[in-house]
Protein backbone atom coordinates (compact mmCIF):
# COMPACT_ATOMS: atom_id res chain seq x y z
CA UNK A 1 0.00 0.00 0.00
CA UNK A 2 1.19 3.50 -0.81
CA UNK A 3 1.60 6.30 1.71
CA UNK A 4 -2.08 6.51 2.63
CA UNK A 5 -1.65 9.09 5.36
CA UNK A 6 -0.73 11.80 2.87
CA UNK A 7 -2.93 10.72 0.00
CA UNK A 8 -5.65 12.99 -1.36
CA UNK A 9 -7.63 10.05 -2.76
CA UNK A 10 -7.69 6.80 -0.79
CA UNK A 11 -9.38 3.84 -2.44
CA UNK A 12 -9.78 0.54 -0.65
CA UNK A 13 -11.36 -2.69 -1.94
CA UNK A 14 -13.59 -0.71 -4.25
CA UNK A 15 -16.12 -2.74 -6.21
CA UNK A 16 -18.70 -1.67 -8.71
CA UNK A 17 -21.00 -3.63 -10.97
CA UNK A 18 -23.80 -2.79 -13.36
CA UNK A 19 -27.01 -4.60 -14.09
CA UNK A 20 -27.55 -5.22 -17.79
CA UNK A 21 -30.50 -7.22 -19.07
CA UNK A 22 -31.09 -8.83 -15.71
CA UNK A 23 -27.42 -9.83 -15.36
CA UNK A 24 -24.93 -8.33 -12.92
CA UNK A 25 -21.75 -7.33 -14.76
CA UNK A 26 -18.78 -6.59 -12.49
CA UNK A 27 -16.84 -3.54 -13.64
CA UNK A 28 -14.39 -2.91 -10.80
CA UNK A 29 -13.17 -5.63 -8.47
CA UNK A 30 -11.40 -4.87 -5.21
CA UNK A 31 -9.53 -1.82 -6.48
CA UNK A 32 -7.16 -0.25 -3.94
CA UNK A 33 -4.81 2.61 -4.57
CA UNK A 34 -3.92 6.13 -3.45
CA UNK A 35 -3.46 9.39 -5.26
CA UNK A 36 -1.09 11.92 -3.77
CA UNK A 37 -1.65 15.67 -3.77
CA UNK A 38 -0.21 17.13 -6.96
CA UNK A 39 -0.31 13.81 -8.80
CA UNK A 40 -1.20 13.63 -12.49
CA UNK A 41 -2.49 10.15 -13.18
CA UNK A 42 -3.58 8.68 -16.49
CA UNK A 43 -6.09 5.84 -16.34
CA UNK A 44 -5.81 3.64 -19.38
CA UNK A 45 -7.38 0.44 -20.52
CA UNK A 46 -9.54 -1.08 -23.20
CA UNK A 47 -13.19 -0.13 -23.61
CA UNK A 48 -15.28 -1.57 -20.82
CA UNK A 49 -12.31 -1.98 -18.51
CA UNK A 50 -13.90 0.31 -15.93
CA UNK A 51 -11.62 3.35 -16.19
CA UNK A 52 -14.47 5.86 -16.70
CA UNK A 53 -16.43 4.16 -13.92
CA UNK A 54 -13.46 4.56 -11.59
CA UNK A 55 -13.15 8.21 -12.58
CA UNK A 56 -16.88 8.77 -11.97
CA UNK A 57 -16.60 7.21 -8.52
CA UNK A 58 -13.64 9.41 -7.59
CA UNK A 59 -15.53 12.47 -8.88
CA UNK A 60 -18.58 11.60 -6.78
CA UNK A 61 -21.03 11.26 -9.66
CA UNK A 62 -21.48 7.53 -9.13
CA UNK A 63 -21.60 5.35 -6.04
CA UNK A 64 -19.60 2.18 -5.41
CA UNK A 65 -21.18 -1.13 -4.41
CA UNK A 66 -18.52 -1.85 -1.83
CA UNK A 67 -15.22 -0.74 -0.37
CA UNK A 68 -14.29 2.75 0.67
CA UNK A 69 -13.43 5.89 -1.23
CA UNK A 70 -12.07 8.85 0.68
CA UNK A 71 -11.15 12.15 -0.86
CA UNK A 72 -9.22 14.44 1.45
CA UNK A 73 -10.37 12.26 4.33
CA UNK A 74 -14.08 12.38 3.47
CA UNK A 75 -15.83 9.12 2.70
CA UNK A 76 -17.74 10.45 -0.30
CA UNK A 77 -19.56 7.14 -0.85
CA UNK A 78 -21.34 7.73 2.44
CA UNK A 79 -22.49 11.26 1.63
CA UNK A 80 -26.19 11.81 0.90
CA UNK A 81 -27.00 13.17 -2.58
CA UNK A 82 -27.44 16.83 -1.60
CA UNK A 83 -24.19 16.90 0.40
CA UNK A 84 -22.40 15.10 -2.40
CA UNK A 85 -23.54 17.81 -4.84
CA UNK A 86 -22.12 20.48 -2.53
CA UNK A 87 -18.95 18.48 -2.14
CA UNK A 88 -18.53 18.16 -5.92
CA UNK A 89 -19.12 21.88 -6.39
CA UNK A 90 -16.35 22.69 -3.95
CA UNK A 91 -13.82 19.94 -4.63
CA UNK A 92 -14.04 18.59 -8.18
CA UNK A 93 -13.37 20.19 -11.56
CA UNK A 94 -14.76 18.30 -14.54
CA UNK A 95 -13.29 18.14 -18.04
CA UNK A 96 -15.36 16.05 -20.47
CA UNK A 97 -14.55 14.59 -23.87
CA UNK A 98 -17.29 16.61 -25.57
CA UNK A 99 -16.69 19.72 -23.43
CA UNK A 100 -20.31 19.77 -22.11
CA UNK A 101 -20.61 23.55 -22.23
CA UNK A 102 -24.03 25.18 -22.01
CA UNK A 103 -24.73 26.19 -25.62
CA UNK A 104 -26.86 29.18 -24.59
CA UNK A 105 -24.15 30.69 -22.42
CA UNK A 106 -21.08 32.59 -23.57
CA UNK A 107 -17.56 31.45 -22.74
CA UNK A 108 -17.57 33.92 -19.83
CA UNK A 109 -20.93 32.70 -18.53
CA UNK A 110 -19.95 29.04 -18.86
CA UNK A 111 -16.82 29.59 -16.80
CA UNK A 112 -18.80 31.63 -14.28
CA UNK A 113 -21.39 28.87 -13.83
CA UNK A 114 -19.70 26.96 -10.96
CA UNK A 115 -19.09 30.25 -9.15
CA UNK A 116 -22.84 30.82 -8.88
CA UNK A 117 -22.79 28.17 -6.17
CA UNK A 118 -20.31 30.15 -4.12
CA UNK A 119 -20.74 33.28 -2.03
CA UNK A 120 -18.51 35.40 -4.29
CA UNK A 121 -19.78 38.82 -5.29
CA UNK A 122 -20.38 39.74 -8.90
CA UNK A 123 -17.12 41.69 -9.10
CA UNK A 124 -15.15 38.84 -7.54
CA UNK A 125 -16.69 36.40 -9.98
CA UNK A 126 -15.88 38.65 -12.92
CA UNK A 127 -12.28 39.04 -11.78
CA UNK A 128 -11.82 35.29 -11.43
CA UNK A 129 -13.46 34.41 -14.74
CA UNK A 130 -11.38 36.96 -16.63
CA UNK A 131 -8.22 35.60 -15.03
CA UNK A 132 -9.18 31.99 -15.82
CA UNK A 133 -9.97 32.79 -19.43
CA UNK A 134 -6.73 34.70 -19.81
CA UNK A 135 -4.87 31.67 -18.43
CA UNK A 136 -6.35 29.48 -21.17
CA UNK A 137 -5.70 32.18 -23.78
CA UNK A 138 -9.30 33.10 -24.49
CA UNK A 139 -9.49 36.70 -23.30
CA UNK A 140 -10.70 37.77 -26.73
CA UNK A 141 -13.38 35.06 -26.85
CA UNK A 142 -15.25 35.80 -23.63
CA UNK A 143 -18.48 36.83 -25.31
CA UNK A 144 -18.46 34.00 -27.82
CA UNK A 145 -20.94 31.16 -27.62
CA UNK A 146 -19.64 27.57 -27.79
CA UNK A 147 -20.96 27.23 -31.35
CA UNK A 148 -18.67 30.13 -32.32
CA UNK A 149 -15.57 28.39 -30.94
CA UNK A 150 -13.40 25.55 -32.29
CA UNK A 151 -13.23 22.23 -30.45
CA UNK A 152 -9.89 23.14 -28.90
CA UNK A 153 -11.20 26.51 -27.76
CA UNK A 154 -14.31 24.89 -26.27
CA UNK A 155 -12.17 22.46 -24.35
CA UNK A 156 -10.07 25.38 -23.05
CA UNK A 157 -13.30 27.02 -21.82
CA UNK A 158 -14.17 23.72 -20.14
CA UNK A 159 -10.75 23.63 -18.47
CA UNK A 160 -11.23 27.18 -17.21
CA UNK A 161 -14.64 26.15 -15.86
CA UNK A 162 -13.01 23.13 -14.19
CA UNK A 163 -10.38 25.05 -12.21
CA UNK A 164 -12.33 28.30 -11.60
CA UNK A 165 -13.42 27.15 -8.13
CA UNK A 166 -9.89 26.03 -7.24
CA UNK A 167 -10.98 22.41 -6.66
CA UNK A 168 -8.96 19.71 -4.90
CA UNK A 169 -8.95 17.45 -7.92
CA UNK A 170 -9.51 17.75 -11.65
CA UNK A 171 -11.07 14.79 -13.40
CA UNK A 172 -10.72 14.60 -17.16
CA UNK A 173 -12.52 11.96 -19.20
CA UNK A 174 -10.86 11.63 -22.61
CA UNK A 175 -10.14 15.39 -22.73
CA UNK A 176 -8.38 15.09 -26.10
CA UNK A 177 -10.64 12.41 -27.57
CA UNK A 178 -12.54 14.78 -29.79
CA UNK A 179 -9.61 16.96 -30.88
CA UNK A 180 -7.02 16.99 -33.64
CA UNK A 181 -3.40 16.41 -32.68
CA UNK A 182 -2.44 20.10 -32.45
CA UNK A 183 -5.41 21.00 -30.29
CA UNK A 184 -4.89 17.89 -28.19
CA UNK A 185 -1.26 18.84 -27.53
CA UNK A 186 -2.42 22.33 -26.61
CA UNK A 187 -4.91 20.90 -24.07
CA UNK A 188 -2.38 18.47 -22.64
CA UNK A 189 0.14 21.28 -22.21
CA UNK A 190 -2.49 23.22 -20.34
CA UNK A 191 -3.20 20.28 -18.02
CA UNK A 192 0.54 19.87 -17.39
CA UNK A 193 0.74 23.56 -16.49
CA UNK A 194 -2.22 23.29 -14.14
CA UNK A 195 -0.49 20.37 -12.48
CA UNK A 196 3.02 21.75 -12.33
CA UNK A 197 2.38 25.45 -11.78
CA UNK A 198 -0.87 25.38 -9.76
CA UNK A 199 -0.28 22.04 -8.09
CA UNK A 200 -3.61 20.62 -9.23
CA UNK A 201 -4.17 16.90 -8.74
CA UNK A 202 -5.37 15.53 -12.07
CA UNK A 203 -6.89 12.16 -12.88
CA UNK A 204 -7.29 11.66 -16.59
CA UNK A 205 -8.91 8.82 -18.48
CA UNK A 206 -7.50 8.33 -21.96
CA UNK A 207 -7.16 5.80 -24.74
CA UNK A 208 -4.31 7.74 -26.25
CA UNK A 209 -0.77 6.65 -25.16
CA UNK A 210 0.54 9.99 -26.40
CA UNK A 211 -1.84 11.84 -24.06
CA UNK A 212 -1.00 9.46 -21.22
CA UNK A 213 2.66 10.42 -21.51
CA UNK A 214 1.77 13.85 -20.10
CA UNK A 215 0.90 12.20 -16.76
CA UNK A 216 3.29 11.32 -13.93
CA UNK A 217 2.04 7.77 -13.88
CA UNK A 218 -0.26 5.53 -15.82
CA UNK A 219 -2.69 3.19 -14.10
CA UNK A 220 -3.80 0.42 -16.38
CA UNK A 221 -7.22 -1.13 -15.86
CA UNK A 222 -8.01 -4.47 -17.39
CA UNK A 223 -11.15 -6.47 -16.57
CA UNK A 224 -11.73 -4.34 -13.50
CA UNK A 225 -8.26 -4.80 -12.06
CA UNK A 226 -5.46 -2.28 -11.75
CA UNK A 227 -1.74 -2.31 -12.40
CA UNK A 228 0.79 0.51 -12.21
CA UNK A 229 3.13 1.87 -14.88
CA UNK A 230 5.14 4.76 -13.44
CA UNK A 231 6.18 7.42 -15.96
CA UNK A 232 8.70 9.53 -14.14
Amino acid sequence: MENASKSIVEIRQLTKSYRRGGQVVPVLTNISFDIMPGDFIALMGPSGSGKSTLLNLIAGIDKPDGGSLKVNGIDIAALPEAELADWRAANVGFIFQFYNLMPVLTAFENVELPLLLTTLSRDQRQERVELALSMVGLTDRMTHYPSELSGGQQQRVAIARAFITDPLILVADEPTGDLDRASADDILAMLVRLNSEMGKTIIMVTHDPHAAKSAHSIRHLEKGELDVMPQR
Binding site: I61, D86, A89, A90, F96, M102, L113, P114, L116
Partner: protein, 394 residues
Amino acid sequence: MRYGAIAVQMHFLKLISRNSLRHKLRTGLTVLGLVVAILAFGLLRTVVDAWYAGAENASSTRLVTRSSISLVFPLPINYQERIRKIPGVSAISHANWFGGVYITEKNFFPQFAVDEKTYFDLYPEYLIPPSEMKAFRTDRKGCVIGRKLAETYGFKVGDTIPLRGTIYPGAWAFTVRAIYDGAEAGTDTSQLFFHWSYLNETLRKAVARRSDYVGVYVIQISDADRAAEISTEIDALFGNSLAETLTETEKAFQLGFVAMTEAIVVAIRIVSFVVIFIILAVMANTMAMTARERISEYATLKALGFGPRFLAGLIYGESLSIALAGAVIGILLTFPVAHAFSKQVGTLFPVFGVSLETVFMQVSAAIAVGFIAAVMPALRASQVSIVEGLRHIG
Protein backbone atom coordinates in the same frame (compact mmCIF):
# COMPACT_ATOMS: atom_id res chain seq x y z
CA MET B 1 -31.47 30.59 0.03
CA ARG B 2 -28.68 29.04 -1.97
CA TYR B 3 -29.63 30.66 -5.29
CA GLY B 4 -31.10 33.64 -3.56
CA ALA B 5 -28.70 36.33 -4.67
CA ILE B 6 -30.17 38.62 -7.27
CA ALA B 7 -27.21 38.01 -9.61
CA VAL B 8 -27.77 34.27 -9.44
CA GLN B 9 -31.48 34.69 -10.07
CA MET B 10 -30.60 36.82 -13.08
CA HIS B 11 -28.48 33.95 -14.41
CA PHE B 12 -31.38 31.60 -13.79
CA LEU B 13 -33.74 33.87 -15.75
CA LYS B 14 -31.11 34.30 -18.46
CA LEU B 15 -30.88 30.53 -18.87
CA ILE B 16 -34.67 30.25 -19.03
CA SER B 17 -35.09 33.01 -21.61
CA ARG B 18 -32.24 31.79 -23.81
CA ASN B 19 -33.39 28.18 -23.59
CA SER B 20 -36.91 29.28 -24.56
CA LEU B 21 -35.57 30.83 -27.75
CA ARG B 22 -33.17 28.01 -28.56
CA HIS B 23 -35.46 26.36 -31.12
CA LYS B 24 -37.18 29.42 -32.47
CA LEU B 25 -39.43 27.56 -34.91
CA ARG B 26 -40.57 25.04 -32.31
CA THR B 27 -41.14 27.70 -29.67
CA GLY B 28 -42.85 29.93 -32.23
CA LEU B 29 -45.24 27.20 -33.32
CA THR B 30 -46.00 26.27 -29.72
CA VAL B 31 -46.69 29.91 -28.85
CA LEU B 32 -48.88 30.17 -31.96
CA GLY B 33 -50.83 27.12 -30.82
CA LEU B 34 -51.23 28.66 -27.40
CA VAL B 35 -52.37 31.96 -28.90
CA VAL B 36 -55.07 30.17 -30.93
CA ALA B 37 -56.13 28.07 -27.95
CA ILE B 38 -56.26 30.96 -25.47
CA LEU B 39 -58.10 33.10 -28.03
CA ALA B 40 -60.61 30.34 -28.78
CA PHE B 41 -61.05 29.67 -25.06
CA GLY B 42 -61.66 33.37 -24.38
CA LEU B 43 -64.15 33.70 -27.23
CA LEU B 44 -66.09 30.60 -26.21
CA ARG B 45 -66.21 31.76 -22.59
CA THR B 46 -67.44 35.16 -23.80
CA VAL B 47 -70.19 33.46 -25.80
CA VAL B 48 -71.23 31.57 -22.65
CA ASP B 49 -71.16 34.84 -20.69
CA ALA B 50 -73.29 36.48 -23.39
CA TRP B 51 -75.80 33.68 -22.98
CA TYR B 52 -76.12 34.50 -19.32
CA ALA B 53 -75.85 38.28 -19.74
CA GLY B 54 -79.61 38.85 -19.39
CA ALA B 55 -79.72 36.95 -16.12
CA GLU B 56 -76.54 38.54 -14.82
CA ASN B 57 -77.89 42.03 -15.38
CA ALA B 58 -81.35 41.30 -14.00
CA SER B 59 -82.60 43.41 -11.13
CA SER B 60 -83.22 41.73 -7.79
CA THR B 61 -86.23 43.98 -7.14
CA ARG B 62 -88.11 43.09 -10.32
CA LEU B 63 -90.47 40.14 -10.61
CA VAL B 64 -91.96 38.74 -13.79
CA THR B 65 -95.39 37.18 -13.83
CA ARG B 66 -96.38 34.96 -16.76
CA SER B 67 -98.83 32.20 -17.51
CA SER B 68 -98.06 29.11 -15.46
CA ILE B 69 -98.71 26.91 -18.50
CA SER B 70 -96.32 28.55 -20.91
CA LEU B 71 -94.96 31.89 -21.90
CA VAL B 72 -96.93 31.69 -25.14
CA PHE B 73 -100.23 31.89 -23.24
CA PRO B 74 -101.10 35.53 -22.45
CA LEU B 75 -102.63 36.90 -19.25
CA PRO B 76 -105.66 39.19 -18.99
CA ILE B 77 -104.90 42.91 -18.65
CA ASN B 78 -107.22 43.13 -15.67
CA TYR B 79 -104.72 41.23 -13.51
CA GLN B 80 -102.63 44.38 -13.37
CA GLU B 81 -104.71 46.29 -10.83
CA ARG B 82 -105.16 43.20 -8.65
CA ILE B 83 -101.41 42.63 -8.51
CA ARG B 84 -100.72 46.30 -7.79
CA LYS B 85 -102.75 46.03 -4.55
CA ILE B 86 -100.53 43.30 -3.08
CA PRO B 87 -98.40 44.72 -0.24
CA GLY B 88 -94.77 45.15 -1.25
CA VAL B 89 -95.57 45.82 -4.93
CA SER B 90 -94.43 49.35 -5.64
CA ALA B 91 -95.01 49.50 -9.40
CA ILE B 92 -96.25 47.33 -12.21
CA SER B 93 -96.12 47.39 -15.97
CA HIS B 94 -96.62 44.89 -18.78
CA ALA B 95 -95.09 43.81 -22.08
CA ASN B 96 -95.82 41.55 -25.05
CA TRP B 97 -93.17 39.78 -27.10
CA PHE B 98 -93.83 40.96 -30.65
CA GLY B 99 -91.49 38.74 -32.69
CA GLY B 100 -91.52 40.79 -35.90
CA VAL B 101 -89.11 40.33 -38.80
CA TYR B 102 -87.04 43.24 -40.05
CA ILE B 103 -86.55 42.58 -43.80
CA THR B 104 -85.28 38.97 -43.27
CA GLU B 105 -85.26 36.51 -40.41
CA LYS B 106 -81.51 36.81 -39.90
CA ASN B 107 -81.95 40.43 -38.78
CA PHE B 108 -83.08 39.31 -35.38
CA PHE B 109 -83.59 41.71 -32.52
CA PRO B 110 -86.05 41.66 -29.60
CA GLN B 111 -89.22 43.74 -29.95
CA PHE B 112 -91.72 44.38 -27.19
CA ALA B 113 -95.06 46.11 -27.00
CA VAL B 114 -94.91 47.87 -23.62
CA ASP B 115 -97.05 50.14 -21.53
CA GLU B 116 -95.53 53.41 -22.67
CA LYS B 117 -96.59 55.24 -19.51
CA THR B 118 -95.07 52.92 -16.90
CA TYR B 119 -92.61 50.49 -18.43
CA PHE B 120 -89.54 52.69 -18.50
CA ASP B 121 -90.04 53.73 -14.87
CA LEU B 122 -89.21 50.14 -13.97
CA TYR B 123 -86.04 50.16 -16.05
CA PRO B 124 -83.88 53.07 -14.88
CA GLU B 125 -80.92 51.44 -16.63
CA TYR B 126 -82.41 52.51 -19.96
CA LEU B 127 -81.24 56.11 -20.29
CA ILE B 128 -83.57 58.14 -22.51
CA PRO B 129 -83.39 61.93 -22.97
CA PRO B 130 -86.63 63.47 -21.55
CA SER B 131 -87.46 65.22 -24.82
CA GLU B 132 -87.20 61.96 -26.75
CA MET B 133 -89.23 60.14 -24.12
CA LYS B 134 -91.95 62.77 -24.44
CA ALA B 135 -91.89 62.40 -28.22
CA PHE B 136 -92.25 58.63 -27.89
CA ARG B 137 -95.13 58.81 -25.45
CA THR B 138 -97.10 61.19 -27.63
CA ASP B 139 -96.68 59.20 -30.86
CA ARG B 140 -98.73 55.98 -30.70
CA LYS B 141 -96.76 54.57 -33.65
CA GLY B 142 -93.47 55.67 -32.16
CA CYS B 143 -90.81 53.37 -30.80
CA VAL B 144 -87.76 53.44 -28.57
CA ILE B 145 -84.67 51.58 -29.72
CA GLY B 146 -81.36 50.79 -28.06
CA ARG B 147 -78.04 52.30 -29.10
CA LYS B 148 -76.57 49.00 -30.31
CA LEU B 149 -79.63 48.35 -32.49
CA ALA B 150 -79.42 51.87 -33.91
CA GLU B 151 -75.74 51.43 -34.72
CA THR B 152 -76.17 47.96 -36.18
CA TYR B 153 -78.79 49.05 -38.74
CA GLY B 154 -78.01 52.76 -38.91
CA PHE B 155 -81.38 53.82 -37.47
CA LYS B 156 -81.79 57.45 -36.45
CA VAL B 157 -84.53 59.36 -34.66
CA GLY B 158 -87.30 59.97 -37.21
CA ASP B 159 -86.56 56.80 -39.25
CA THR B 160 -89.34 54.30 -39.86
CA ILE B 161 -88.69 50.66 -39.03
CA PRO B 162 -90.92 48.28 -41.01
CA LEU B 163 -91.61 44.93 -39.35
CA ARG B 164 -93.43 41.88 -40.67
CA GLY B 165 -95.55 40.47 -37.89
CA THR B 166 -95.39 36.77 -37.11
CA ILE B 167 -97.22 36.39 -33.81
CA TYR B 168 -99.31 39.42 -34.74
CA PRO B 169 -99.60 39.10 -38.53
CA GLY B 170 -99.50 42.06 -40.85
CA ALA B 171 -97.19 44.84 -41.89
CA TRP B 172 -96.19 47.10 -39.04
CA ALA B 173 -94.16 50.28 -39.11
CA PHE B 174 -92.76 52.23 -36.19
CA THR B 175 -91.13 55.62 -36.14
CA VAL B 176 -87.99 55.94 -34.05
CA ARG B 177 -88.74 58.61 -31.43
CA ALA B 178 -86.05 57.81 -28.90
CA ILE B 179 -82.72 56.00 -28.64
CA TYR B 180 -81.72 54.72 -25.22
CA ASP B 181 -78.26 54.09 -23.83
CA GLY B 182 -77.39 51.58 -21.17
CA ALA B 183 -76.51 52.80 -17.70
CA GLU B 184 -74.04 49.91 -17.42
CA ALA B 185 -71.85 48.01 -19.84
CA GLY B 186 -74.04 44.94 -19.45
CA THR B 187 -77.32 46.71 -20.27
CA ASP B 188 -79.01 45.27 -23.35
CA THR B 189 -79.32 48.05 -25.95
CA SER B 190 -80.40 45.88 -28.85
CA GLN B 191 -84.17 46.06 -28.21
CA LEU B 192 -87.15 47.89 -29.69
CA PHE B 193 -90.13 49.00 -27.62
CA PHE B 194 -93.43 50.35 -28.93
CA HIS B 195 -96.85 51.20 -27.50
CA TRP B 196 -98.80 48.23 -26.16
CA SER B 197 -101.95 50.34 -26.60
CA TYR B 198 -101.27 50.57 -30.35
CA LEU B 199 -100.91 46.80 -30.56
CA ASN B 200 -104.05 46.30 -28.50
CA GLU B 201 -106.14 48.71 -30.56
CA THR B 202 -105.02 47.05 -33.77
CA LEU B 203 -105.86 43.61 -32.38
CA ARG B 204 -109.22 44.79 -31.16
CA LYS B 205 -110.10 45.77 -34.72
CA ALA B 206 -108.62 42.70 -36.44
CA VAL B 207 -108.92 39.83 -33.90
CA ALA B 208 -110.94 41.08 -30.97
CA ARG B 209 -110.54 37.88 -28.90
CA ARG B 210 -106.76 38.45 -28.77
CA SER B 211 -107.06 41.99 -27.39
CA ASP B 212 -106.66 43.03 -23.74
CA TYR B 213 -104.02 40.41 -23.03
CA VAL B 214 -100.40 40.87 -22.04
CA GLY B 215 -97.43 38.54 -22.30
CA VAL B 216 -95.87 39.27 -18.95
CA TYR B 217 -96.26 41.61 -16.03
CA VAL B 218 -93.14 43.28 -14.74
CA ILE B 219 -93.44 44.07 -11.06
CA GLN B 220 -91.28 46.35 -8.99
CA ILE B 221 -91.00 45.36 -5.35
CA SER B 222 -89.67 47.53 -2.58
CA ASP B 223 -87.80 44.78 -0.72
CA ALA B 224 -85.75 42.19 -2.62
CA ASP B 225 -85.80 39.89 0.42
CA ARG B 226 -89.56 39.52 0.06
CA ALA B 227 -89.40 38.39 -3.58
CA ALA B 228 -90.38 34.78 -2.85
CA GLU B 229 -93.17 35.77 -0.49
CA ILE B 230 -94.68 38.29 -2.90
CA SER B 231 -94.37 35.86 -5.83
CA THR B 232 -96.32 33.28 -3.87
CA GLU B 233 -98.99 35.83 -3.01
CA ILE B 234 -99.39 36.86 -6.65
CA ASP B 235 -99.69 33.26 -7.87
CA ALA B 236 -102.12 32.44 -5.05
CA LEU B 237 -104.29 35.32 -6.16
CA PHE B 238 -104.89 33.67 -9.52
CA GLY B 239 -104.92 30.05 -8.38
CA ASN B 240 -107.69 27.89 -9.87
CA SER B 241 -108.45 30.59 -12.43
CA LEU B 242 -108.48 30.11 -16.19
CA ALA B 243 -105.10 31.83 -16.43
CA GLU B 244 -102.99 30.76 -13.52
CA THR B 245 -99.73 32.62 -13.09
CA LEU B 246 -96.12 31.84 -12.40
CA THR B 247 -94.16 34.64 -10.76
CA GLU B 248 -90.42 34.57 -10.39
CA THR B 249 -87.54 36.98 -10.09
CA GLU B 250 -86.32 38.57 -13.29
CA LYS B 251 -83.09 36.57 -12.96
CA ALA B 252 -84.93 33.26 -12.66
CA PHE B 253 -87.12 34.28 -15.61
CA GLN B 254 -84.01 34.98 -17.75
CA LEU B 255 -82.32 31.78 -16.62
CA GLY B 256 -85.42 29.94 -17.78
CA PHE B 257 -84.59 31.06 -21.31
CA VAL B 258 -80.98 29.96 -20.90
CA ALA B 259 -82.17 26.57 -19.65
CA MET B 260 -84.05 26.04 -22.92
CA THR B 261 -80.71 26.14 -24.75
CA GLU B 262 -78.61 24.66 -21.98
CA ALA B 263 -77.33 21.82 -24.16
CA ILE B 264 -75.69 24.35 -26.46
CA VAL B 265 -74.12 26.20 -23.53
CA VAL B 266 -72.82 22.94 -22.07
CA ALA B 267 -71.40 21.97 -25.48
CA ILE B 268 -69.63 25.33 -25.80
CA ARG B 269 -68.23 24.97 -22.30
CA ILE B 270 -66.94 21.46 -23.05
CA VAL B 271 -65.36 22.61 -26.32
CA SER B 272 -63.63 25.48 -24.51
CA PHE B 273 -61.97 23.02 -22.13
CA VAL B 274 -61.19 20.54 -24.92
CA VAL B 275 -59.26 23.33 -26.66
CA ILE B 276 -57.18 23.82 -23.52
CA PHE B 277 -56.65 20.08 -23.14
CA ILE B 278 -55.38 19.84 -26.73
CA ILE B 279 -52.90 22.65 -26.26
CA LEU B 280 -51.82 21.04 -22.99
CA ALA B 281 -50.94 17.88 -24.95
CA VAL B 282 -49.02 19.96 -27.53
CA MET B 283 -47.19 21.88 -24.83
CA ALA B 284 -46.37 18.72 -22.86
CA ASN B 285 -44.92 17.18 -26.02
CA THR B 286 -42.80 20.28 -26.64
CA MET B 287 -41.44 20.27 -23.11
CA ALA B 288 -40.82 16.50 -23.18
CA MET B 289 -38.81 16.87 -26.42
CA THR B 290 -36.95 19.84 -24.97
CA ALA B 291 -36.01 18.05 -21.77
CA ARG B 292 -35.02 14.86 -23.62
CA GLU B 293 -32.63 16.80 -25.84
CA ARG B 294 -30.98 18.47 -22.84
CA ILE B 295 -30.47 15.46 -20.61
CA SER B 296 -26.67 15.69 -20.95
CA GLU B 297 -26.80 19.40 -20.05
CA TYR B 298 -28.87 18.64 -16.97
CA ALA B 299 -26.36 15.92 -16.05
CA THR B 300 -23.50 18.39 -16.50
CA LEU B 301 -25.23 20.96 -14.28
CA LYS B 302 -25.79 18.26 -11.68
CA ALA B 303 -22.13 17.22 -11.88
CA LEU B 304 -21.14 20.85 -11.30
CA GLY B 305 -23.21 20.83 -8.11
CA PHE B 306 -26.57 22.28 -9.17
CA GLY B 307 -29.43 20.54 -7.39
CA PRO B 308 -32.60 18.92 -8.71
CA ARG B 309 -34.66 21.98 -7.74
CA PHE B 310 -32.54 24.21 -9.95
CA LEU B 311 -33.03 21.87 -12.92
CA ALA B 312 -36.76 21.54 -12.29
CA GLY B 313 -36.95 25.32 -11.97
CA LEU B 314 -35.34 25.74 -15.39
CA ILE B 315 -37.97 23.50 -17.01
CA TYR B 316 -40.92 24.98 -15.12
CA GLY B 317 -39.64 28.47 -15.93
CA GLU B 318 -39.27 27.74 -19.62
CA SER B 319 -42.67 26.05 -19.85
CA LEU B 320 -44.42 28.86 -17.97
CA SER B 321 -42.71 31.59 -19.98
CA ILE B 322 -43.79 29.99 -23.28
CA ALA B 323 -47.32 29.49 -21.95
CA LEU B 324 -47.55 33.07 -20.69
CA ALA B 325 -46.19 34.47 -23.95
CA GLY B 326 -48.99 32.65 -25.77
CA ALA B 327 -51.49 33.80 -23.16
CA VAL B 328 -50.53 37.48 -23.38
CA ILE B 329 -50.82 37.53 -27.19
CA GLY B 330 -53.99 35.42 -27.08
CA ILE B 331 -55.63 37.69 -24.52
CA LEU B 332 -54.65 40.85 -26.40
CA LEU B 333 -56.16 39.38 -29.56
CA THR B 334 -59.34 38.29 -27.78
CA PHE B 335 -60.60 41.87 -27.48
CA PRO B 336 -60.50 42.88 -31.19
CA VAL B 337 -61.63 39.42 -32.31
CA ALA B 338 -64.55 39.48 -29.85
CA HIS B 339 -65.46 42.95 -31.10
CA ALA B 340 -65.38 41.76 -34.72
CA PHE B 341 -67.41 38.68 -33.76
CA SER B 342 -69.97 40.86 -32.01
CA LYS B 343 -70.28 43.05 -35.12
CA GLN B 344 -70.67 39.96 -37.27
CA VAL B 345 -73.50 38.44 -35.22
CA GLY B 346 -75.24 41.82 -34.89
CA THR B 347 -77.93 41.81 -32.21
CA LEU B 348 -77.95 38.04 -31.67
CA PHE B 349 -75.95 38.62 -28.49
CA PRO B 350 -77.22 41.88 -26.99
CA VAL B 351 -74.31 42.04 -24.58
CA PHE B 352 -71.01 40.67 -25.86
CA GLY B 353 -67.86 41.76 -24.09
CA VAL B 354 -64.76 40.05 -22.75
CA SER B 355 -65.10 40.10 -18.99
CA LEU B 356 -62.32 40.40 -16.43
CA GLU B 357 -63.31 36.93 -15.23
CA THR B 358 -62.69 35.55 -18.73
CA VAL B 359 -59.25 37.15 -18.84
CA PHE B 360 -58.53 35.67 -15.42
CA MET B 361 -59.61 32.24 -16.68
CA GLN B 362 -57.39 32.62 -19.75
CA VAL B 363 -54.39 33.46 -17.58
CA SER B 364 -55.22 30.60 -15.21
CA ALA B 365 -55.57 28.16 -18.11
CA ALA B 366 -52.18 29.26 -19.51
CA ILE B 367 -50.49 28.89 -16.12
CA ALA B 368 -52.09 25.46 -15.64
CA VAL B 369 -50.94 24.38 -19.12
CA GLY B 370 -47.41 25.67 -18.51
CA PHE B 371 -47.20 24.03 -15.11
CA ILE B 372 -48.72 20.64 -15.99
CA ALA B 373 -46.71 20.36 -19.22
CA ALA B 374 -43.49 20.73 -17.20
CA VAL B 375 -44.28 18.20 -14.47
CA MET B 376 -42.95 15.04 -16.14
CA PRO B 377 -39.93 16.62 -17.89
CA ALA B 378 -38.96 18.38 -14.65
CA LEU B 379 -39.29 15.15 -12.70
CA ARG B 380 -37.17 13.33 -15.27
CA ALA B 381 -34.49 16.02 -15.31
CA SER B 382 -34.29 16.25 -11.54
CA GLN B 383 -33.97 12.47 -11.22
CA VAL B 384 -31.51 11.96 -14.08
CA SER B 385 -28.44 9.93 -13.16
CA ILE B 386 -25.36 12.01 -13.91
CA VAL B 387 -23.50 9.07 -15.41
CA GLU B 388 -26.43 8.08 -17.64
CA GLY B 389 -27.12 11.70 -18.56
CA LEU B 390 -23.53 12.39 -19.59
CA ARG B 391 -23.71 9.42 -21.97
CA HIS B 392 -26.91 10.76 -23.50
CA ILE B 393 -26.70 12.27 -26.97
CA GLY B 394 -29.42 14.89 -27.41
